[in-house]
Symmetry: C2
DNA sequence: AAGACCATGTAACAGGTTACATGATTAT
DNA sequence: ATAATCATGTAACCTGTTACATGGTCTT
């Protein structure tokens, strides 16, 4: 069997260091912790847990609640070792695909008002994410002040804060720059010299 | 036929506003312009050009060099219209997957030196990208000072500059913070209370 | 009784990369 | 000669989302 490559496997292993969890539990935990920089769907989680089980990196026990089925997965020693090995590896970056910049790159074919709107919409999203990061930071500092993982959690939030602040600056700057740029000559309005 | 969703189609249409090009030409143009925020492989480009042709958004003519085959694609009126429609649509953002932050989130299971290395490696990459953006900015300002697309090109570079600068600050800050964090108690070294 | 939430899973599809196959042309 | 570059394309594979199917349990 080939070794999984996409990070999904190790994200699951990571959560299982917190203790035994079901696929459903993990999905919920992701939404409450790393959703700002990572996501997984059930379509990834359940099949991957099965593969990790076959590999011996996790093991499961049937733990039904009442008559309802439930599988609790736990990390094995081999799984923990694999997680630690992976953590030490250089973090890979995927080839970026930023649709906003792609549109901006070809924005000559766009009217000035749509151009503005594009950037303003992006800024609104950045600002709303930033507010979320701020709120989570406060909540973590208040409720988990002595959790030994807190410093690491806070750095991931700080990443989002600094990044989004900088990109908000970029939005302001860009709106100004493009406003002071001479009106576009589009294909259809260009006159012969 | 379903409308393509992933941005690839419109990236190709965008380049064809520059004039007729082959798939090979487009791939090269991507590498020389938008590779910092977008990428396409031949496996995407050639089949997509065929689909765009069937859709009537591009048309092609055989334009062999010597005996070697070559297809030159050009934008049709319908294609230009579709591009402009798409440009005005809100830019979509994909669910992020930042492997560095994922590792950092679970970094308690990692030694302090590997932790440092992870962040330092990331910083090196950020700095090298930043240097590239600076160099390209200078080159563009010098060689294409009066190109009507220049303002748009520069904003995409500015995006990278501001973003990477902020994340470099984050690297410094994080290295300091984590160094002043008490030594990790890992699973294996934790003693019973 | 209704609706929200718990819980597991699959199938179909979409998006994308990598590796391969093929062969011509140009520069050294 | 030989290596680099031009040029087109496909097949296999991996990754990931969405939609669906199923049914139990808890709260109001």
């Amino acid at each position: 069997m080939k070794s999984p490559q996409g990070g999904t496997a190790h994200a699951l292993l990571g959560f299982l260091t917190w203790g035994p969890m079901s696929g459903y539990d993990i999905k919920k935990a992701i939404g409450e912790s790393i959703s700002n920089f990572w996501s997984e769907s059930y379509g990834q989680i359940y099949p991957m847990l099965k593969r990790l089980d076959q590999r011996g990196w996790v093991a499961h026990t049937e733990a039904p609640t009442g008559r309802r089925g439930r599988k609790l997965y736990r990390l094995t020693a081999a799984g923990r070792q694999e997680l630690e090995r992976w953590l030490g590896e250089k973090a890979r970056t995927r080839p970026p695909r930023n649709e906003l910049l792609l549109k901006l790159f070809f924005a000559r074919s766009l009217g000035p008002s749509e151009r503005r709107r594009l950037i303003e919409e992006y800024g609104i999203q950045l600002a709303s994410e930033l507010a979320t990061y701020d709120a989570i930071t406060e909540r973590l500092n208040a409720k988990h002040a002595d959790h030994e993982d807190l410093p690491f959690w806070l750095t991931t939030l700080r990443y989002g804060q600094l990044g989004n602040q900088a990109l908000l600056t970029w939005c302001d700057e860009t709106l100004e720059t493009l406003d002071s740029t001479p009106a576009t000559r589009t294909h259809s309005t260009r006159r012969p010299r």
